[in-house]
């Protein structure tokens, strides 16, 4: 199993597309946040919670790491290496677990790195300008949630990749569902049921992205409920991906 894990990690490390997307997931929020800190805050100003501001980048990082998950599975099919992977490791369950663990490790490390690269330069810049930032009680939970959201979205990407077997289909589903379709579908449902809180049933917008929110309004799911709901949603895709991966001819 260790060999298969090392191999999966090596595969991710040795393709340009995955390296570029991982770097984007880490550096893009860091650059934008650093620039924001440079241009937005003046001497002596009192700012918001730094951590809750960084939390706003979690969906971007998470979705980009989801794309890495997609590439982790679809590149195998598009390049034909899936046959060699399964010849070298006939147990498809073992291959699936190795891919899951690999993408989890990559996304957790990337998300942690993103937080670090956002917060450290920001602290440095703002402390030299005497900008005071508040800390709120949910800061630690937000930090934790950024990592969890990234990890779960990357696993969703991997599963979508195994279901679609092609990057365009899987990436489209990963990006269009949470950013466009989910809002439309649940907006329509809220009209149909005359309930403005239907969005709490939206798996990604209403629960996944909600994890990094500093506050939860009444009518919304609690943090724990959101986490369980969103994890359950991801588990369905993991199961579907594994079932199709196990049954399909390579």
């Amino acid at each position: 199993m260790i060999g298969v894990l090392k191999s999966e990690l090596f595969k991710l490390r040795t393709t340009r597309a995955t390296k570029i997307v991982v770097l984007s997931a880490v550096l893009l929020p860091a650059i934008i946040f650093t620039l924001t800190c440079i241009f937005a805050f003046s001497n002596g100003e009192v700012g918001d919670s730094l951590i809750s501001m960084v939390g706003n980048f979690a969906p971007l990082t998470g979705l980009l790491l989801g794309v890495v998950g997609v590439l982790c599975s679809t590149q195998e099919y598009s390049q034909g290496t899936i046959r060699i992977t399964l010849v070298a490791t006939p147990s498809r369950l073992k291959v699936h677990i190795a891919k899951l663990l690999t993408i989890l490790v990559v996304s957790v490390v990337s998300a942690a790195l993103m937080l670090l690269l956002c917060l450290l330069p920001a602290q440095l810049i703002l402390s030299t300008r005497n900008v005071a930032f508040v800390t709120i009680s949910t800061d630690l939970r937000i930090l934790f949630s950024v990592v969890i959201l990234s990890a779960l979205l990357s696993v969703l990407g991997l599963s979508l990749g195994l279901i679609f077997k092609s990057s365009p289909g899987a990436i489209s589903a990963l990006l269009i569902w949470p950013t466009i379709l989910e809002g439309m579908v649940f907006g329509l449902l809220s009209l149909a049921f005359k309930d403005s809180n239907v969005i709490r049933f939206a798996p990604i917008q209403g629960n996944g992205f909600q994890l990094v929110s500093p506050f939860f309004n009444p009518g919304q799911n609690t943090w724990l409920t959101s986490l369980v709901y969103f994890s359950g949603f991801i588990c369905v895709f993991i199961a579907l991906g594994l079932t199709l991966f196990s049954r399909r001819d390579a």
Binding site: K6, S7, Q75, G80, I84, V87, D249, A250
Partner: protein, 310 residues
């Protein structure tokens, strides 16, 4: 030793492989032949667990492929030379495969040297010609120093030197006691290297056994004769049940042995300039054996190839 028993695989209503059974003996090269779409590649994929057969089983030294621990050390395979990420270097391609089975990096370098790719080890696969990719595919097959080697069209895209090298590699592997199963459309090549043949058509077994047995069963034989008294000899041979086909230098006698023709000539004082038994090529024998099971036939008639007249 590879044993394939009653392998059956369907795609929808089409049976790609139909109750196929054969074995591949250690120390021998077994050629796997069949027309396009006959089920060769499907059979190989089913053998390696890539496609799930509807029925039947394949064992490698008594074990199913899925049950072999470190399978690359037992079975090496080359199914498609294109099965490599174009953005990875040759060495990195081999390294990730090696990692899965705990094969050392030094073995990676050794097989790259074996296939003559040590100078291109750090070149990306996307820059390789088809021949280079075939060599890389062979390197993958040999990575685990396997006891069984399965190669699907290994000489595809190789230059003459590469083809001869592939032939020598296969012979070397067989001489070391390994079982070698190789599918190829290059029948001349295969006739030079194979010891046994497995011939399939429309997923069914047509013939299995030593190449000489296949030739005896399926290759045409005739007697080539050159004689100044050919017409007289032809009349006598026809009377004995033989058939005659005229050629530029003389004629060919069918359905009669060279011994009988010689005896007829001697008994009738007929001068012979040439009397030689002939056997058809492996290609002709293969075409004759699989004629009834060819699914995809090209057209060469002029009405198809001629451009429509305005």
């Amino acid at each position: 030793m590879i044993v394939v028993e009653n392998l059956t695989k369907s795609y929808g209503s089409k049976k790609a492989v139909d109750d196929l059974s054969f074995s591949v003996i250690p120390g021998r090269i077994t050629g796997f032949l069949g027309p396009n779409g006959s089920g060769k590649s499907t059979t190989m994929r089913c053998m390696l667990g890539l496609d799930k057969p509807d029925a039947g089983i394949t064992t490698f030294d008594g074990r199913k492929y899925a049950d072999i621990e470190s399978p690359l050390a037992h079975v090496g395979s080359l199914l498609d030379a294109g099965d490599a990420h174009k953005g990875r270097t040759a060495r990195n391609h081999l390294r990730w495969i090696a990692m899965t089975n705990g094969i050392s990096a030094s073995r990676v370098d050794a097989v790259l040297q074996m296939v003559g790719m040590e100078d291109t080890a750090r070149t990306k696969v996307g820059k390789f010609s088809l021949g280079m990719r075939q060599r890389l595919g062979l390197a993958v097959a040999l990575l685990g120093d396997p006891k069984v080697v399965i190669l699907d069209e290994p000489a595809n895209g190789l230059d003459p030197e590469g083809i001869r090298w592939t032939r020598e590699v296969m012979r070397h592997l067989a001489d070391e006691g390994r079982s070698v199963l190789v599918s190829s459309h290059q029948l001349v090549e295969l006739s030079l290297v194979a010891d046994d043949l497995v011939v399939i058509g429309q997923g069914k077994l047509i013939s299995s056994g030593p190449i000489a047995q296949f030739m005896t069963q399926h290759a045409k034989t005739w007697v080539q004769v050159v004689s100044p008294q050919f017409d007289a000899l032809a009349a006598l041979v026809t009377a004995q049940g033989g058939t005659v086909e005229l050629t530029k230098d003389g004629g060919d006698f069918h359905a009669i042995s060279a011994i009988t023709v010689g005896e007829i000539a001697a008994a009738n004082n007929i001068v012979l300039h040439e009397l030689s038994p002939q056997t058809g090529s492996l290609e002709q024998a293969f075409l004759d054996a699989t004629d009834a099971s060819v699914e995809y036939r090209g057209q060469t008639t002029t009405n198809v190839w001629e451009a429509p007249k305005p």
